[in-house]
Symmetry: C2
Subunit: 110 residues, 2 copies
Amino acid sequence: MNTQDLIQHLPARAAFSAAKMTKLDCFRSRHLLVGLNCFEPGQEQTVHAHDGADKFYFVVTGKASFTIGDMTLEARSGDLLLAPAGLPHGVARALERTVVLVAIAPAPRA
Amino acid sequence: MNTQDLIQHLPARAAFSAAKMTKLDCFRSRHLLVGLNCFEPGQEQTVHAHDGADKFYFVVTGKASFTIGDMTLEARSGDLLLAPAGLPHGVARALERTVVLVAIAPAPRA
């Protein structure tokens, strides 16, 4: 990767679509995927799980209702949400325009 | 881990010491360590590297001067800094009270 990519201002990298939530990669290796998930109000991410990989969400800006296991949790800027391997997780509904930092270790296949 | 630990408001978890920067774990597995590094103004983290593990810093609040490889980068809230395996990195100096989310994959030994 280029040295200029070693620092990224995430609010400036966020990109939104009226059609559905968007994803973009910030870093990818065998060990780690780091990316952004960007939501317009009302958009969602379907509940899913990663076998053998641990994941977290960190809400950079905005507010959304997350599903973690059998819980529904409203989270806002500054909140970390953990989805250890195998635990179903998703975003039930963004309540505002929302930018979420996501990390998955090890990285899923591209 | 307890289900109540699956969501953590990171600014509320931050803890500072007048003596030196502090570290605390938010999540630890074989694949992933997630934690906070907390700095009072002027505090530092010595430059170091992780063989075989990829790391990132995300500045939650504050502003600090980071070392990444041979670069010195001033970063503020919203900035992601990447330190792929083997690349030296550290915090030269916190310019304000600063809280940094840190992830390392795979996790170093406790």
